[in-house]
């Protein structure tokens, strides 16, 4: 379908597609097998200027928004959702600075992000605070001209690989959710270290690691936004970032569909290619329809968000739920179309099915997204 992209957007798609084709697809199975972080691919992505697509021009970027990120991530995800997750998590990690950071912070960090010379990560989740982020226990106390952070973040994408971390910590534990603030912690800061590295079902080329802050001392000017506004910034950040995760679902679903159709045309049983069986055709037809519907919703949501409306949570959640549930279903069906071969690691759909699952879990589970949509409906129909 023609989504009427601008010439610049077409170039973003083409560039990300070339990265996927030339740099990601040839090595994705090996990265998955070895649980290996794809640092050299990130350098390729940086050299192609893709890290700059959402950074304002005055900081060395190309000045795009949510939609440009969506376009790039969709193509990268066709190659490997693990690599694409690394890109998405870096964007997620720097959004708080873009949204709530002051001019000095933007000057300091955004040019490096745009150039791809430094990557970011977002540290919210803790052992006892997943869906209920208000349960975080990491604290930050001002001591003279320094903030002192204590606590452990869990399952942080790009942990140990990124150089810039945005950390959510309580500055006033008595105030609960209103007592949280966001801080920038840099690799190498005193008292900041990395803990357990996870061994995951899918997206194995993305690093997922614990962040440990033990009397971690950072300069006073690392506070992002006003004290106590941490969760407001977190919510704004996630509203803008969720369509990115949705687009990973679109790219993955498309890639699985491509594999399934290609295979169905070649595989002969009962004397004809299996695509000749209506049962297979209907499955492929449903897969294709769902991929296109998800893409249309994600693009529309991203464009809506780029227009900076007052409320974007509902559409942001809707596109995340729809596209990632789609990706799970379509990848399972792709394995089915390939039959026993689909279950084997020689064919890429096996990895795709494993990679799909995370999309329904991170950046807010799909149950939590439905809660958000439900709450918005409840308000709208008041």
């Amino acid at each position: 379908m023609d989504y009427f992209l601008t010439e610049e957007q077409e170039m973003i798609v083409e560039t990300a597609r070339e990265i996927a084709r030339e740099k990601i697809i040839p090595v994705r199975a090996e990265l998955d097998e070895k649980n290996e972080f794809a640092a050299s691919i990130l350098e390729d992505i940086a050299r192609a200027d893709l890290f700059g697509i959402f950074v304002p021009e005055e900081y060395g970027g190309l000045g795009g928004g949510c939609f440009e990120i969506v376009l790039a991530l969709e193509e990268l995800a066709k190659g490997c959702v693990g690599v694409a997750t690394t890109f998405a998590a870096s964007a997620l990690g720097i959004f708080p600075v873009l949204i709530a950071g002051n001019e000095e912070q933007k000057q300091k960090y955004l040019p490096d992000i745009a150039a791809g010379s430094r990557w970011a990560a977002f540290g919210l989740t803790e052992a006892n605070a997943g869906s209920d982020a208000s349960g975080i226990q990491t604290t930050a106390v001002l001591d003279g001209d320094e903030w002192v952070l204590n606590g452990t973040k869990q399952w942080i994408t790009n942990g140990g690989e990124a150089q810039i971390y945005t950390i959510v910590a309580l500055t006033d534990p008595s105030k609960g959710a209103r007592g949280a603030s966001i801080f920038i912690v840099e690799d190498g800061d005193p008292g900041f270290s990395y803990g357990k590295k996870e061994d995951k079902m899918g997206i194995r080329s993305s690093a997922t690691r614990e962040l440990i802050m033990q009397d971690c001392r950072i300069p006073r000017d690392r506070l992002v936004g006003r004290k106590g506004t941490g969760f407001i910034t977190v919510m704004k950040t996630l509203d803008v970032s969720r369509p990115g995760i949705a687009s990973l679902g679109v790219g993955l679903g498309q890639a699985a569909l491509d594999e399934a159709v290609t295979y169905a045309k070649q595989r002969v049983q009962f004397g004809k290619p299996i695509i000749g069986f209506q049962a297979i055709q209907h499955m492929l037809a449903d897969m294709a329809t769902q991929v296109e519907a998800a893409r249309a919703l994600v693009y529309a949501a991203a464009r809506h968000i780029d227009a900076h409306p007052k409320n974007m949570s509902k559409v942001s959640s809707m596109c995340k739920v729809f596209a990632t549930d789609m990706a799970m279903k379509v990848t399972v069906d792709a394995v089915q179309v390939l039959g026993g071969y689909g279950y084997m690691k020689e064919y890429p759909v096996e990895k795709m099915m494993r990679d799909a699952k995370i999309l329904q879990i991170y950046e807010g589970t799909n149950q939590i997204q439905r809660n958000v949509i439900g709450q918005e409906l409840n308000k709208e129909y008041a």
């Binding site: 170039m11 083409e14 560039t15 070339e18 740099k23 390729d44 192609a48 200027d49």
Partner: protein, 259 residues
């Protein structure tokens, strides 16, 4: 460091066919791409520029549509592209091509290093690089798999051999032809693509480069394609040793057997 890369637009290898009547390449309806070896030559030039400063100029001789590979070169990091194009160049063999490229290079500037692909995937002769060096009176090394160092007005490179490699140091200005092992070409960048879209690609004619009519195109091409076939696997090889004079004597003696 002023760098120049010679880039040929070639038919996509996936589609190459020979015209059975003329024994030449059938070019109609075949998609054109940048000669794959030249992509590596360009990448090496861009890396040398990134390391040592300077500029990268991409040069191609070909029909007007060859401009596309020059825009692609700019997207991949070249600073500018120059096309030499003229009906009078049509039918050029390697002799006429190297003459034309040499005239063009003399016209557009002076360069410390000229890079070519090892060979073009259509003509496949691997003669243009060395031919160009001879025309320009430059030292050259073919089949370079690595540029090691640029020091004291010279460059040290590794030349790929069947069993290992030679390390060769040559003074600049010089010419290199490169093999694919030399690097992993980058994907064209977004900023590069935007620059490429807007870039002015000057087109030089035979008159602009002061080319003599008798030296260009079909008129300047002594080559006649008689037959095209797949060669037999390579036979015995012989390595001569001794002083240069002794080696030449042995070679002449050896060649006499075939006359």
């Amino acid at each position: 460091m002023e760098l120049l890369v010679c880039i040929k637009q070639v038919p996509d290898a996936k589609d190459v066919r020979l015209d059975p009547r003329t024994n030449t390449l059938a070019r109609e309806g075949v998609e054109s791409i940048m000669n794959p070896f030249d992509r590596h030559a360009l990448e090496e030039a861009v890396r040398l520029k990134e390391a040592h400063g300077g500029t990268v100029t991409a040069l191609s001789m070909g029909p007007p549509q060859a401009e596309a590979v020059l825009r692609e070169a700019i997207a991949c990091g070249a600073d500018r592209g120059v096309l030499v194009s003229d009906r009078a160049f049509a039918g050029a063999d390697t002799w006429a091509t190297s003459y034309t490229l040499a005239r063009a290079i003399d016209t557009i500037g002076s360069f410390d290093l000229i890079l070519c692909g090892k060979q073009a995937i259509d003509g496949d002769t691997a003669q243009v690089g060395p031919g160009l060096a001879a025309r320009m009176n430059l030292p050259y090394v073919t089949c370079v798999q690595k540029t090691r160092d640029v020091v004291d007005g010279g460059i040290e490179v590794e030349r790929m051999m069947d069993d290992g490699y030679d390390v060769v140091r040559l003074p600049l200005p010089a010419l290199l032809t490169v093999v694919k092992d030399i690097n992993e070409p980058r994907v064209p960048s977004l900023k590069g693509k935007m620059k490429a879209r807007k870039a002015d690609i000057p087109v030089l004619s035979a008159a602009d480069i002061g080319a003599e009519e008798a030296c260009i195109g079909l008129a300047g091409s002594p080559t006649r394609v008689v037959n095209v076939f797949s060669p037999e696997p390579r036979g015995d090889r012989k390595i001569f040793t001794g002083t240069a004079e002794e080696q030449v004597d042995q070679l002449i003696e050896h060649l006499r057997d075939f006359l």
